[in-house]
Amino acid sequence: MTEPVISLRGVRAELGSRPVLRGIDLTVRRGEVVALLGANGSGKSTAVRSVIGQVPVSAGEVELFGTPRRRFRDWARVGYVPQRTTAAGGVPATVTEVVSSGRLARSRFGVFRKADREAVRRALDLVGMADRAKDSVDALSGGQHQRVLIARALAAGPELLIMDEPMAGVDLASQEVLAETLRHQVAEGATVLLVLHELGPLEPLIDRAVVLRDGCVLHDGPPPKAVGQHALPGHDHVHPHAPAGAEPIRTGLLS
């Protein structure tokens, strides 16, 4: 068995007073591609955010590369792709400027050398956005924006990629580019943990699926096969994503 890159043991977390994770175990080993699946509100995103320290853990242990997360400092080894909604500043920024932020983990005191600029350009090449390098990110489509965020995560040359719903609201053409980028990273030995709504075009890449429900691990093993209508080629879910914490829409039809 290879060494674990991510290791969660009995992790509990609350948002407000509501328990979101009720003691989950999750191990991702070097070179593995693990999908975290589950319905909205099952705790997928919270689990991932507890790994990177965005959500305080009330019990249990989180380790990154064998180091307790609190003492982990080697962030250049981790590439994080947040849900697309989080990255929007009030001032225009170009694709290159946004991707350059990802390189800060490697550059000393934020001084960019030639190697850093090349790394940014390479990351943009990988996601097929090099021709848009000087464009404002506001002018991009959802799929293109997602590719920029992935390039940002790749700019530091990470060994571990953590992605929160990289395929949500992404057009088919961009989905293909993302799948190809990921294939390339995996072939080079990257470890990947992704939150997904469904396996979709990434299915062939995924070694293991962990399914959460109500903050508990329901399944940990080979990815479940899609059945029925969901298995048809070209099938695509489009979910309107409500902002976190919003009340579900009550139509009165079910109550």
Binding site: A87, G89, G102, L104, L172
Partner: protein, 300 residues
């Protein structure tokens, strides 16, 4: 240029240029973080510092710097910890700061509300030798931070969560931004006044955004606008005998309106140039392709 023959005008112009550089340089990060009105809040808090300066017979500029830095740090702490009632706490801080200023200045033996007015709306012609020294030192600090740490501050202001995962000291950088904003407020206090500081932090950035597509260009154009309006406002106030602070702010807003009017046809031309540059052109009308592509599949 007879205007430069007077020592007080030399000092006023120097102070005005430094404010023109520093206010938009900090403002661009505040706008990026969507905290455009933070400068206004700090301005209110700084009034307590001015009042204390008069009461204790210390330099009002340095006292205002101290108090507004403390206020800015407190605001940042409220933002971290007090999530739900944060706005109420901020309101109390702002108006407490303003009331404190009025109270202290009236308790001071040498102070009156007339002194306060010169800090509220600026009083360029009374900028003293020691004020200029203080303004130069503080402005150097602001430029060092906003230019030297531009990549880090950009990353934190753009996406705080991601910045934390790149290992940046996000809390320290947030505090530094708040402190730099507080310092800028006191730099600008003598020129445009505490109540108008925020305009010079925000409006040049908003004006620059009308033309720019990148953060670097927004930064540069905002500073250029800032310097132009502060010099323009100072010179105008000398010849026309109008208040410099108000003149500068009105000029800034005029620059915003002018650039907005200019930007619309410019954006249209840019779009046309882009369409012409694309192979086969980018048709404005719908063209139904002969065959379907992968992206057209709707599936069932």
């Amino acid at each position: 240029m007879e205007i430069l023959n007077y020592a007080f005008m030399q000092r006023a112009l120097l102070a005005a240029v430094l404010v023109g550089i520093t206010a938009p340089a900090v403002g661009v990060y505040l706008v990026q973080r969507r905290q455009a009105l933070m400068g206004d809040g700090i301005g209110h808090v700084a009034m307590t510092g001015v009042g204390l300066g008069f009461l204790l017979s210390w330099s009002p500029v340095w006292m205002a710097t101290l108090v507004s830095v403390l206020g800015a740090v407190l605001m940042e702490l409220i933002r971290w910890y007090g999530k739900t009632r944060g706005d109420i706490a901020l309101a109390m801080l702002f108006y407490g700061g303003m009331a404190g200023g009025v109270m202290f200045i009236n308790l001071a033996p040498t102070g009156s509300n007339a002194n306060l007015t010169s800090y509220l709306f600026g009083s360029l012609s009374t900028v003293s030798e020691s004020d200029v020294t203080a303004i130069c030192v503080l402005a150097a600090f602001v430029v060092l931070v906003t230019v030297g740490l531009r990549r880090q501050l950009f990353a934190v202001s753009q996406d705080e969560e991601f910045a934390r995962v790149t290992g940046l000291p996000v809390r320290a950088l947030n505090l530094l931004t708040a402190i730099t904003a507080a310092v800028t407020v006191t730099v600008a206090m003598r020129v445009v006044g505490l109540l108008l500081v925020s305009a010079l932090m925000v409006v040049p950035v908003a004006a620059a955004q009308q033309l720019s597509r990148s953060f670097a260009a927004t930064f540069a154009v905002a500073v250029a606008i800032g310097v132009s309006v502060t010099i323009g406002g100072t010179v105008t106030s000398y010849y026309q005998d109008v208040p410099p602070g108000a003149t500068i702010v009105l000029l800034t807003i005029a620059a915003f309106v002018a650039l907005t009017a200019l930007a619309t046809p410019l954006a249209r031309r840019r779009a046309r140039a882009l369409a012409a540059a694309q192979p086969g052109g980018d048709p404005a009308e719908c063209v139904i392709p002969a065959s379907r592509k992968a992206g057209d599949e709707v599936g069932a």
